[in-house]
């Protein structure tokens, strides 16, 4: 890592393994591998992560309820299908597309939709 004194470095990347992409977002994006037990600072509050979270994955910035829109880049990217607490992993198990359902290698037909 470079030093925090570097004036051109984005400070969020230096200070935290998660970054806020837009002030309206209700999720944060992991930019450095988080291990279970790591302490995370979310809007000034320290949360202990209960799981490993890989780079590129999302955690909840605030507690979210079923049906809540998820915001990233300040834009809606889908809806919650389950409630999560602040700091928990937000992904396929608790969130869905508002357009076309996503598929995985093991889930290829269950959510198949026809227009």
């Amino acid at each position: 890592m470079t030093q925090t004194a570097d004036p051109v470095a984005p400070q969020h990347a230096v200070l935290s393994p998660v970054i806020l992409l837009h002030p309206d977002d209700n999720i944060l994006v992991c930019v450095k591998q988080i291990h279970s037990g790591d302490a995370l600072s979310i809007d000034g509050e320290i949360i202990t992560s209960q799981i490993d979270i890989a780079v590129g994955h999302k955690i909840a910035r605030i507690a979210l309820n079923t049906g809540d829109k998820v915001y990233r880049y300040g834009a809606p990217i889908g809806s919650m299908t389950d409630a999560v607490a602040k700091g928990e992993h937000v992904h396929m198990h608790n969130m869905k597309s508002d357009y076309i359902p996503s598929h995985t290698r093991s889930r290829q037909n269950k959510d198949r939709s026809e227009s």
């Binding site: 890592m1 470079t2 570097d6 051109v8 470095a9 984005p10 400070q11 990347a13 230096v14 970054i19 992409l21 994006v29 992991c30 930019v31 450095k32 591998q33 890989a54 780079v55 590129g56 994955h57 999302k58 998820v70 990233r72 880049y73 834009a75 809606p76 990217i77 889908g78 937000v90 992904h91 396929m92 969130m95 869905k96 597309s97 508002d98 357009y99 076309i100 359902p101 996503s102 598929h103 995985t104 290698r105 290829q108 037909n109 198949r112 939709s113 026809e114 227009s115």
Partner: protein, 405 residues
């Protein structure tokens, strides 16, 4: 500084300029693929590329794509290899390539005595084409004569934060220098249609952009799958619209000057959206079965260079035009450094800014346009895929820039 940037191009008879002088060897049906591949392998030259169309049934799109690729400014000559009974109009294709001022030859396996003799004849033809292509004049070429396409492949949750917006900065600099920039994959812009339409230079173009994304959504719904791969989810992306928002940032912040379809050459400098989703009721399956089907469509629109961003780590290149690979994820970069030109993951580790990586990508574009080999080019990647599709011509509102001129 961009006004001063120049490099050496190949002057083509149609007025366009190329940054490579490639000989393409094209099979016109899968039945001629082996013979064609053997010719290319035995020619053993980094600038002799294998392309082709596997289908025996006629398809206007495939013909137009073959014509556009064989007459691309990076191409100095073409050898067509036909089995003899397929539908591709080989004589018309040969005539059109020659009319573009390029040397072109045709071999029909059924008339040339079969596999062995066609390979021998093909090798001799490639040598003749190479010596003709070597006579093409080298001329100075400027950024405002360059066409740059962008695509993302193997995206993950970092793509939209580092590599894609860095390409967007590079696109902004290129558009400011009056280059043509093309972004694509309307199926991966689902969810961005409204904000994208607001950037169109006319309201009518904005309406066309919204309609083309609606078409893409309908098409993918019928297919039953969005443009979303399992690897996207492994990398933290959850939904198609999340992937879209990240992909969209490749376009930068310039106004959108036009909406084109595969094979359309943008008429003037600016940013263009390429509609890659077929028109009419869904036929022939998925719009683009893998990344290279999109890359070759960008090339058919004249792209000299392709900027390919990846989070999970794609290794592909392309026939005809060099591919520059920009890695979004620092962990992926460490695993696949030998396949990447630019490490945009540095942005996430606080070691570089978006502006710095954008500048670096622009410098790679200039270097590759000046003849330096991109990493995938050096590794011999020359992927090519062309399948069945159907398109209607673009509407009158799609290229307002042409009406202004």
């Amino acid at each position: 500084m961009n006004d001063a940037v120049s490099f050496s191009g190949w002057q083509r008879a149609d007025g366009r300029k190329g940054i490579r002088n490639v000989i393409v060897v094209a099979y016109l049906v899968e039945c001629a693929h082996h013979v064609t591949r053997r010719i290319v392998n035995l020619a053993d030259d980094m600038d002799v590329h294998l392309i082709g169309f596997p289908g025996c049934y006629p398809n206007q799109y495939a013909y137009e794509m073959m014509r556009a690729v064989c007459t691309h400014p990076n191409v100095g000559g073409a050898l067509l290899v036909s089995l003899g009974c397929e539908s591709m109009n080989r004589e018309k294709l040969l005539t059109e390539i020659r009319a573009s001022g390029r040397p072109a030859e045709l071999l029909v396996i059924q008339e040339a005595g079969g596999t062995k003799s066609t390979i021998e004849l093909g090798l001799a033809a490639v040598k003749r084409l190479q010596s003709e292509a070597a006579k093409v004049a080298r001329v100075p070429m400027y950024l405002n004569e360059l066409i740059v396409g962008t695509i993302c492949g193997g995206s993950d949750g970092t793509s939209g934060i580092s590599a894609n917006p860095a390409v967007g900065r590079c696109f902004d600099a290129l558009v400011a220098a009056d280059a043509i920039c093309i972004f694509e994959e309307t199926g991966e812009l689902i969810g961005c249609e409204t904000i994208m339409a607001d950037r169109a230079i006319t309201p009518e173009l904005g309406a066309e952009i919204e309609a083309c994304v609606a078409k893409a959504e309908h098409y993918y719904r019928v297919m039953g799958f969005g443009s979303f791969a399992p690897g996207n989810a492994d990398g933290g992306l959850t939904t198609l619209e999340e992937k879209s928002m990240g992909a969209y940032s490749k376009s930068g912040s310039s106004p959108i000057s036009g909406l084109i379809k595969p094979g359309d050459i943008p008429p003037a400098g600016g940013l263009y959206l390429l509609d890659v989703v077929p028109d009419g009721e869904p036929r022939f399956g998925f719009p683009n079965i893998s990344d290279n089907a999109e890359i070759i469509e960008l090339i058919a629109c004249g792209s000299h260079v392709i900027l390919f961003t990846t989070g999970r780590g794609s290794v592909v290149g392309s026939a005809v035009s060099p591919v520059i690979k920009i890695c979004a994820n620092p962990e992926t970069y460490r695993r696949l450094a030998g396949d990447m030109d630019v490490n945009a993951g540095r942005i996430l580790e606080g070691e570089a800014t978006l502006d710095q990586v954008g500048e670096e990508i622009l410098q790679h574009v200039i270097d590759v346009a000046s003849g330096e080999r991109s990493v995938s080019e050096e590794l011999g990647h020359q992927e090519f895929i062309l399948t069945y599709k159907a398109f209607e011509p673009i509407g009158p509102s799609c290229l307002p820039v042409r009406q202004i001129q």
